[in-house]
């Protein structure tokens, strides 16, 4: 899976996710990536999210929309909201991670497994890629 979330200079958010699914999948299985609200979501009132991981659990936890809800309704920051949903995914038995950009332009990674490929940049000069 690959994904990106962004905030432009006009304050507009966008999220995208693309994937081949999981090795050896059968029965036209579809994971969370193309499901709006589970693997991908964007709302200028809160945040934009792209997820990767064991999709069945991200669907059950409605991860992407729930992160946005925690930010908009509970006032959480992107990392706290992401960590909350990733804890829920782990509790259900799943693993993976999310990238989040808030309406204010803050970026966050939250994940609960190793081998996560990540990068972020912003207008203040932040520019980093890492394999966690």
């Amino acid at each position: 899976t690959v994904g990106a979330v962004a905030r432009d200079i006009h304050g507009n958010l966008a999220a995208g996710t693309s994937t081949g699914g999981m090795t050896g999948k059968r029965w036209d299985r579809i994971g969370d990536s193309p499901i709006i609200g589970a693997g991908t979501y964007a709302d200028n009132n809160s945040c934009a999210v792209s997820a990767t991981g064991s999709g069945e659990y991200f669907i059950r936890a409605v991860v992407a929309k729930s992160i946005c809800d925690l930010m908009e309704l509970a006032g959480m920051g992107p990392l706290e909201a992401g960590d909350n949903l990733m804890a829920e995914v782990a509790e259900l038995g799943g693993s993976g991670g999310v990238i989040v950009v808030s309406k204010r332009g803050e970026t966050a990674f939250s994940f609960n497994t190793s081998g996560m490929y990540r990068g972020r940049a912003d207008s203040t000069g932040l520019n980093e890629v890492a394999i966690f």
Partner: protein, 171 residues
């Protein structure tokens, strides 16, 4: 606070951290940096968040290191089945596709579904038929399938078949 910002991911790690050699890590890091730079350049020059996201994902879809587009994992039958979604925060317009196998850049088909506006999520043969009414580039299986993914599928199938022969059974 930043005027613009972008974050990207290249998946949950099909290669475990302990198996990552310095050469592999350099290759993954270089690909991620190239994609990040492309998205950042769009935003730095006043482009939209939508265009930045597409700039990143289309590059990663062409990169066989990652599980999307070219080099994506294979289905049980050795086929291709790509899924993608795009959503805009400004108006919550969204497009998604699933189970397509001939679209070079699945994220652009998701964008086309979003732009069409009547539906949000198309799948399988219907999504392929919808794509035929767009100028989007198509590709043969030979473009998408890589030797490393074929080997991974062979290992997976051997493992699953051995499980099915034992106490585990597919239901």
């Amino acid at each position: 606070l930043p005027q613009w910002s972008i974050a990207i991911h290249g998946g949950a790690g099909t290669l475990q951290r302990e198996a990552m050699t310095p050469e592999r890590e350099a290759a993954y890091s270089a690909s991620l940096q190239t994609a990040l730079d492309a998205g950042a350049e769009v935003l730095r020059t006043g482009g939209t968040s939508e265009d930045a996201v597409l700039a990143v994902i289309t590059l990663l879809e062409d990169d066989p290191l990652f599980n999307a587009g070219r080099g994506a994992v294979l289905t049980w039958d050795g086929g291709i089945s790509h899924d993608a979604a795009l959503m805009l925060g400004q108006n919550r317009r969204a497009g998604a596709i699933a189970g397509v196998s001939t679209i070079r850049h699945p994220i652009l088909l998701a964008q086309a579904v979003m732009q069409y506006g009547r539906h949000v999520f198309l799948s399988g043969e219907g999504a392929e038929e919808f794509a035929s009414d767009t100028p989007l580039e198509r590709a043969e299986s030979a473009w998408f399938v890589t030797p490393s993914r074929q080997k991974a599928l062979a290992r997976y199938r051997a493992h699953e078949i051995s499980l099915a022969d034992g106490e585990h059974r597919f239901g």
